[in-house]
Symmetry: C2
Subunit: 422 residues, 2 copies
Amino acid sequence: MLSYCVRNVLCTLKIPPCSATLTLQHSRRHCSTSSSEDLVSTLLQLCVDRHYVSPGQTNTELFQRGMSCVYGPLGMELRRNLLEQWWHSMTSSSAQVFGINTLSSSKDAAADGGGQLRIVESDYLKHTLEQKELSKEQLIQEVQALIQRSPSLRTDFLQGALEQYVPSLELVNRKLPFGLAESGLCFQLSDGSGCPAEVTQTSLVWFCSPRTSSQWLDHWARQRLKWWRKFARSPSDFSSSDVPVEELEGAASRGVKIIYSFPWGQEPLETLWSRGHSELLQTHKGVRSKLQQLKKQDSKQKLLRRKVLKLHPVLAPVKVALDIGRGATMELRQVCEGLLQEFMEAKIPAWPGYLETLPTSMEQLNAKYDEMGVLFTVVIGENTLESGLLQVRSRDTTIRETKHISEIKNFLSRYISAADNI
Amino acid sequence: MLSYCVRNVLCTLKIPPCSATLTLQHSRRHCSTSSSEDLVSTLLQLCVDRHYVSPGQTNTELFQRGMSCVYGPLGMELRRNLLEQWWHSMTSSSAQVFGINTLSSSKDAAADGGGQLRIVESDYLKHTLEQKELSKEQLIQEVQALIQRSPSLRTDFLQGALEQYVPSLELVNRKLPFGLAESGLCFQLSDGSGCPAEVTQTSLVWFCSPRTSSQWLDHWARQRLKWWRKFARSPSDFSSSDVPVEELEGAASRGVKIIYSFPWGQEPLETLWSRGHSELLQTHKGVRSKLQQLKKQDSKQKLLRRKVLKLHPVLAPVKVALDIGRGATMELRQVCEGLLQEFMEAKIPAWPGYLETLPTSMEQLNAKYDEMGVLFTVVIGENTLESGLLQVRSRDTTIRETKHISEIKNFLSRYISAADNI
């Protein structure tokens, strides 16, 4: 069974909630003669006039504070494009990153934010308050119990990712490192006003061995800095720096900030933390029982009836799986890596089956990919090294065809777009 | 000024919250010999084993009930693909549809769901309950006031879209019809358990004249049916039918359901409503003052300094604007429509500037597009009809070039992907 003592470092990456920060800084540079406040109000007016941000005092204030606000059609597209770019940079890196979707509310009181934000059904509360026979003390107890039972809203993605650690391990053959990425809505505690706000966040929680944690933190800090600079008009305005020891959050042993030089001074855009393993251990106190949930049935029994998730080609999450047959493993893997890169660039989601090290029969592999809804399985063998030929198996027909390695990418692209146009 | 009495019909479209419904029905068909319950549990197990749905009793129950649940990496991709397809079908239709992003919580008590679901900061409530000097009656009043001040969570997108009606009008030259599309998180009241749930919803609110409302309802019902059938293995299992008069919701005068024949019987997947104008009027009681907010400054004043939203080409929401110069308007418009279609198919977001009917100088147009961050402006003139040549102006260089109409699409694609690869 899996031991959990070696897996223990996570970094959380966040991009600022307000997707238009980039806009802000860019257009500000065009009117460098006015004062800082003038610039901000000019920009805000521009964003409203040009349908990036919806009009209204409250709304533009939210926008200015970096909270989620009501976006107009152009702002909505910009937000989409930004999230898309972030997603692409996460999942197309050479590191193994999987996307997840967790819930924004949780019944578990131990959820993050200390369960500070609760969703209360007001009719329920009203009903409790109207119970005339209760004394003041009983009433207080009833209200407190009701709050305790109410779902709490998340303030970040960390807890959700920690909970997904165990089910995700199987995807990576129980090998570190790997990452879980998520983007979406989080809620923020008010700073005294009693009125919490919404933020759009993105997060990567990266699991690696303690030995490599510092290197990985540097790796991701470089990646993120590169990402910001890619879209910047003045890339040198972005920089990174280590978080001073006295500012380290919770269990974190190291932190790196990505910083931007705004006209009024430097401000951090996101922070990467090396968090250690205490939070992970705490989340998986019952880890052994959870692992048992993942126990597989006997594979032979499974093969009695073919189970296929016949998702439409456009919808199928994985379009092609890459596996290796017999032959010189190292060389075959290299071919797979090259092909995987080619697929990624063509935005064809591919499954790196060749990373699996447990011996599996081709029959079992096909059964697994059919259940996953994978459209095609490509097998690279010794023959591929000699002649460039490989085997392609179709999920829907189960037929195996021989194709040349140079034509496989176009074959897949054509197949998917043909299915899209029917 | 705008009068609002003629604009009055909306349809709300929803796809079921559970993005895996399609999966469910597809794979069920493969094991038609077992009983219905066996099929469901087999499928659920498959979804868990193959990383569509995260393990756990509570989670699979949510999934089965069609609520949002915790998705694994494959489920997350499937959800993305589905939302992407929905989005594409909405915005690439010939009808004018804009995307918006509204907040999931609102301070306005009149928000939808009757403000039933409230976000309460538990420390605040605790503080109120601990005030020893209050009598029972005072305590009840204090708690009620606190709930009243707390933001309420949305249960659908209707209210948000109604509020965006006024700011969106300007985008469409104050002409109907047009639509506002949104997808994301909504919350659902519990059915007695006191525990609300999350749902992922998509919605199109379509604004048209009352005269055409029934035709539009039919149009959108056809479109939605076509959409569902596109991804189905057995398209004839999808059908549509009018909602009986006694089941009409609120102010709705007509409704159409999209229905799927599950192995255990027919169930509606989404419903389209023709809702009349009462809700819209109610939302915009103060409509005149809101309209004034949109008042433009004198355009000459604006031209004194060039304001450019220099968004990175990959991030810019609109890549190209299409306008017409002097000449036979009808013919020029036809050329624009053809070009717009071509851009859409190549997934290049384009702005139909040729639909604008108010006379505007080229200078004013350029200033507007610069503020919007539009990368290129294409002007189709009489010359285009004769020789196929058109003018392309760059946002960043302000240089005008002459290009042949046949090369413009590839020019833009190359420009954007070159910027992406720097």
